[in-house]
Symmetry: C2
Subunit: 409 residues, 2 copies
């Protein structure tokens, strides 16, 4: 992408605020606040989120998921059937147009059960695994942590339907493994943490937590096994665990729930077994906060110059800064790197060198390539690793190979 | 994609309904109705829409657009400033949570002007061109035409900001050309039609209309120049035009508006010109209905067996049907075609031949490849063109080349 054609509204006039991620992402031109807890996603954020979503898409497809997009709008009748329309737990968090009799669904158990019921009748058609990337709405009273807790946010939610509790249990464990792979690929160390089912389920749920000093949750962690307990279920720990586990602040980036047969039963969705009996269907739901992940990355990966993102989720892998005025070398290198499959932001603008370098650090692209009249004459370019700060001079012909190795591509 | 791992809930129990597209797309497992005018998008629809969006993304990037995603939530205050909160034209179509003081924006002029104002101060920073793919909400009273008019739908909306009226006019024309390219790539013949500015503008607007017998609009068309007039502005036509233009039913798939300086002015968003003067900013908005496009394709491209989609927007380009039980040839061909860059749905299920063939026709994949024990022994496969109905036997080794040429790839 040519910088001259790409909108990056970095800002100098941002006041320090309660939320580190909102401050940094606003300054770096990723987001702009529309209302408390509601942020416009600007071009850099859109690219990052598309990369995060693609990683999740690959892992959800790998466990047999099919991608759908359900409507945010959900009619009053279906929420009355499942008992959620008048449930005060949901009433206080779900936007609704009373006149139209519509909720803006923060969660999709009802329509998923209804739609799958239209097709599935026999055990031969199970399991069904559907997931979506969707914009969710929640009336948050306290929305002060930037992308960590919003009134409007992107989520991946997946719903699975199974013939038996055992089938569901097996899929649940597969999904847990897929979640760990997602967070690993994003460079985040996640912990599988035992928690309450909250408003969704009377059973325990599993949360995926990432250590973060500004997180809302308190968790007790075992680093060796990458598991732990949410403080809210401390009664579940042994005396030994209470002594040895480390208590830290964390952010929940994913969660998975056993829903039992509640929602399918509410819509009389049952299946015909091989022996002819008509049985209840087991359901689970599985979420990952997409915009929240971007917030967590900003909270964790930054320094006094700005953001420090990893290649797997940075909007670009390489920023290429041309300090000459001819753009001959720049155009040539941009072509070479782009043809080589790298995601390159090519700063082709006639701006002062200082402001180009400052911007590259601020927006957090992992590798910076700079060349001036002088280095160009020597056939070299300067390569700086944003994460380690290391700088080296590299021959032009070797640049692609050096970058590929740096980015593990 | 292996069919055994991909959810295609085709249905036999769908009653004929007012809307052709809703009937066909429901039967073919693309969509499922959640409420009047609100449809869940199932896996086939998601793939088609992603392809449609990618074509639009490429054309919007080519005219200098940067992709963003603004929030659907928009606070009451900003709509009060622009005068739309109490405007009955908008009041009746926009969902709102009165208690929370929030609208669910069907359109984004206000937040776009506000966000761009945060950064842009000088003529050197103009133009700014931002676009988004977004879910929009509209309280439609009559929502009976399936994906042609929904209460929740996907749209591409683009907003441009310019220093002068002339700059805006030039961009407007560029965008009009890009729109024609988008519809051409989707295999739709579009007409640029003069229309009223509706609730957005007192000036004329341009609509992009596609001839469709079930369309809501009546337009007068000149086929040679692919232009015309919406019936609502008939007064604009000459007597000659009234005589020679053809009057037909059509669907509006895109529209572009001159907004003048209204919205930037409402938020005191001005720029500093080279001569030091502080001037008003010219704004335009430009929409394409994404889900509506899928609806139009279904209305126009079908026969008694189901949908007939073109490769550019069909969920898959090729459906590969294995009628043997070993899957050796199937696995091999699937690998070859996928490695060759084609989008293949590989029906690897042990289902009756009839139901596999019927499904392939119903879902509208443009090319069907079938092989049985018999053709496999002869080293051949059967290739059927869904659009023309032509069938030919092709040697296995030539399959990739034959398909590429059929799909113009």
């Amino acid at each position: 992408m040519r910088r001259s054609q790409f909108y990056i509204p970095t800002r100098r006039d941002v006041a320090k605020q309660e939320s580190v991620n909102a401050y940094l992402l606003t300054k770096a031109g990723y987001i702009s606040q529309i209302a408390a807890g509601a942020y416009a996603l600007l071009p850099l954020a859109v690219r990052s989120l598309q990369k995060i979503e693609q990683i999740i898409r690959e892992e959800m497809n790998a466990i047999g998921g099919s991608e759908v997009v359900f409507t945010a709008l959900q009619p009053q009748e279906t929420w009355e059937k499942s008992g959620r329309w008048n449930d005060p737990n949901f009433r206080q968090i779900v936007y609704r147009d009373e006149e139209a009799g519509m909720t803006f669904g923060a969660t999709h158990e009802e329509p998923m059960a209804i739609v799958v019921k239209e097709k599935v009748q026999s055990y031969r058609e199970l399991p069904v695994v559907l997931y979506q990337f969707q914009t969710k709405f929640r009336k948050e009273l306290r929305a002060k942590s930037g992308l960590l807790r919003g009134r409007e946010f992107r989520m991946k939610d997946l719903y699975s339907f199974h013939a038996t509790e055992k089938d569901h249990q097996e899929f649940y464990e597969e999904c847990a493994k897929a979640y760990t792979r997602v967070f690993d690929r994003l460079g985040l160390t996640s912990y599988r943490v035992k928690a309450s089912g909250g408003v969704f389920s009377k059973e325990f749920s599993d949360e995926f937590q990432v250590i973060c000093p500004t997180g809302e949750d308190e968790v007790m962690l075992d680093h060796a096994t990458r598991t732990g307990f949410n403080k809210e279920v401390e009664d579940s720990m042994t005396a030994e665990q209470k002594k040895t586990l480390e208590r830290v602040k964390a952010v929940e980036v994913g969660n998975i729930f056993h829903l039992g047969t509640k929602y399918p039963d509410a819509f009389d969705f049952k299946y015909l077994a091989a022996d002819g009996s008509r049985n209840s269907i087991w359901m689970g739901s599985y979420g990952i906060g997409i915009t929240r992940l971007l917030g967590v990355m900003a909270e964790l990966h930054n320094d006094e110059f700005g953001l420090k993102f990893t290649g797997s989720m940075a909007p670009f892998e390489v920023v290429l800064i041309d300090l000459t005025h001819e753009h001959t070398v720049g155009d040539e290198l941009y072509q070479t790197l782009t043809n080589g499959g790298l995601e390159v932001l090519y700063d082709d603008r006639d701006e002062p060198a200082g402001s180009k370098l400052v911007e590259a650090d601020l927006i957090g692209v992992p590798v910076r390539v700079v060349f001036s009249q002088k280095t160009a004459q020597e056939g070299k370019v300067e390569v700086k690793d944003r994460l380690t700060g290391e700088v080296e001079l590299v021959a032009k012909e070797e640049l692609l190979a050096v970058l590929r190795s740096k980015l593990s591509r």
